[in-house]
């Protein structure tokens, strides 16, 4: 399976070992928390988790003892007949008695007792990536660079479209390309053949580019001020949707040889994108693809998405696409001069 996204479970091994889970479900009744700031709340929640465990105790019974931040404690007994087993049980917690150890919230351990406390995190899981993305965005804004993150399925014609776009721009805009693929330098080589600087990122087993990789690539490329940066993401309509790279816009490319319902099948990507390029439109006469339906589906997921029908082969829609890019570049340059004044 893909080591990064975990898709394609089944023959899963982690660290060379097959992963086996014993079911172990807990249902907790009312929880009562008192936080360090003195506020308290009560809530019900159900939670389940899975892990293997075996009990070494031969006495048939073991005792759990929990201490919470406020010093409230509870204990519960389990009786076990077998040492490895599945169990599903419900237990209500009450935190009525109060045990003080003085040092509790400071995190010290009382000998022989486990003292636990709650730590508030309230951070987005992607906050690390978003931090790098913001650094990238800051750098790009400071230098008047307009960056696009091109996302699509493999084979939608991203690279061909880029090559044609670069040729059509014909040096009118300074630009650079970052290519993301799991393996090979082929795409960057195709871009370099147009004369534009390109850097290939191989994600190895990864299924998407992240902001850190792109930040490093930006440093290596030595981008010109007031230029265009095109980032061709790994061909994948799932994972790149969540990873902000610091770009101005995500551009989704859907080719007419795919299904009209792709925006519905992969809604996250079409929702995250500001522009959809409906590519390979020169093939429409030979296909049963309903372009209007595909566009309507994209707008069901993202009512604001802009759509351009395009063909890298016939040149249809290229002017509109290039004008959109140029308008974005002008805006980035204008914003830079406002910010620096």
């Amino acid at each position: 399976m893909c080591n990064v996204c975990g898709c394609g479970a089944g023959e899963t091994t982690i660290g060379g070992k097959a992963v086996v889970h014993d079911e172990h479900g807990h249902e907790h009744g009312a929880h009562f928390h008192v936080h360090a700031d003195g506020t308290s709340h009560d809530h019900d929640h159900t939670h389940e988790h899975e892990h293997d465990h075996s009990h070494e105790s031969t006495q048939g019974e073991h005792r759990h003892y929990h201490l919470h931040e406020a010093g409230a404690s509870h204990e519960h007994l389990h009786a076990h007949d077998e040492h490895t087993h599945d169990h599903h049980h419900a237990h209500g917690h009450t935190h009525e008695e109060t045990v003080h150890y003085g040092l509790g919230p400071a995190g010290a351990h009382a000998p022989g007792m486990s003292q636990s406390r709650m730590v508030k995190i309230e951070q987005d899981i992607l906050s690390k990536n978003d931090g790098y993305a913001n650094e990238n965005r800051g750098y790009l804004a400071e230098h008047g660079i307009f960056a696009l993150n091109l996302v699509s399925s493999p084979g939608s014609g991203k690279t061909t479209l880029l090559v044609k776009s670069i040729s059509a721009l014909n040096g009118s805009l300074p630009l650079a390309v970052i290519e993301g693929d799991q393996q090979t330098d082929n795409d960057a080589a195709r871009i370099r053949a147009t004369g534009a600087p390109a850097l290939q990122i191989n994600t190895g087993k990864g299924c998407h580019l992240d902001a850190f990789m792109v930040g490093r690539a930006m440093q290596q490329l030595k981008l010109n001020d007031d230029s265009l940066l095109l980032i061709e993401n790994v061909g994948n309509l799932v994972c790149p949707a969540s990873f902000d790279l610091g770009e101005a816009h995500k551009v989704a490319i859907l080719s007419v040889t795919e299904g009209e319902d792709k925006p519905l099948k992969y809604p996250d990507m079409f929702r995250a994108s500001d522009l959809m390029l409906l590519n390979k439109c020169d093939l429409l006469p030979y296909l049963t693809f309903d372009a209007d339906l595909a566009i309507a589906n994209a707008r069901r997921v993202n009512p604001d998405i802009k759509v351009i029908r395009i063909s890298a082969t016939s040149g249809e829609g290229m002017d509109e696409w290039l004008d959109w890019i140029k308008a974005g570049c002008s805006k980035a340059v204008a914003r830079k001069s406002i910010d620096s004044n």
Partner: protein, 113 residues
């Protein structure tokens, strides 16, 4: 989707927090995952267990709080509940809805010692 990367992100946040808050073991991790966040809860649990092996969060219990999808319907001019990103407004059937909640994925709190 990329639950393995997300699980690694969770572990990073835990490890950062352990340096700040000085704890050596994590017993429970509460995550808040929106219905529209594109995260498969079962896959997340699976990846989390794999990622936290030999870390301070080994054997930690993972509690996922799922928050409902919410959207603003332009026609009804009110907040409605949606199950998926492309759902129509359950009241008027319009697709002119903007998601306003339920796309979060965050680490809420930890039970540590």
């Amino acid at each position: 989707m990329h639950e393995m990367s997300l699980a690694e992100g969770v572990l990073q946040l835990i490890e950062d927090s352990s340096r700040k808050e000085k704890f050596s073991r994590v017993k429970t991790v509460w995550l808040e995952i929106g219905q529209l966040a594109g995260v498969e809860v079962e896959a997340m649990k699976f990846c989390f267990d794999a990622v936290v092996r030999d870390s301070i969060a080994q054997d930690a219990q993972l509690v996922i709080i799922e928050t409902p999808g919410q959207a603003w319907c332009l026609h009804c001019a009110e907040v409605v509940h949606v199950q998926a990103l492309f759902d129509a407004c359950p009241k008027c059937g319009s697709h002119q809805v903007q998601v306003t909640g339920g796309n979060e994925m965050r680490v809420k709190e930890l039970d540590v010692e």
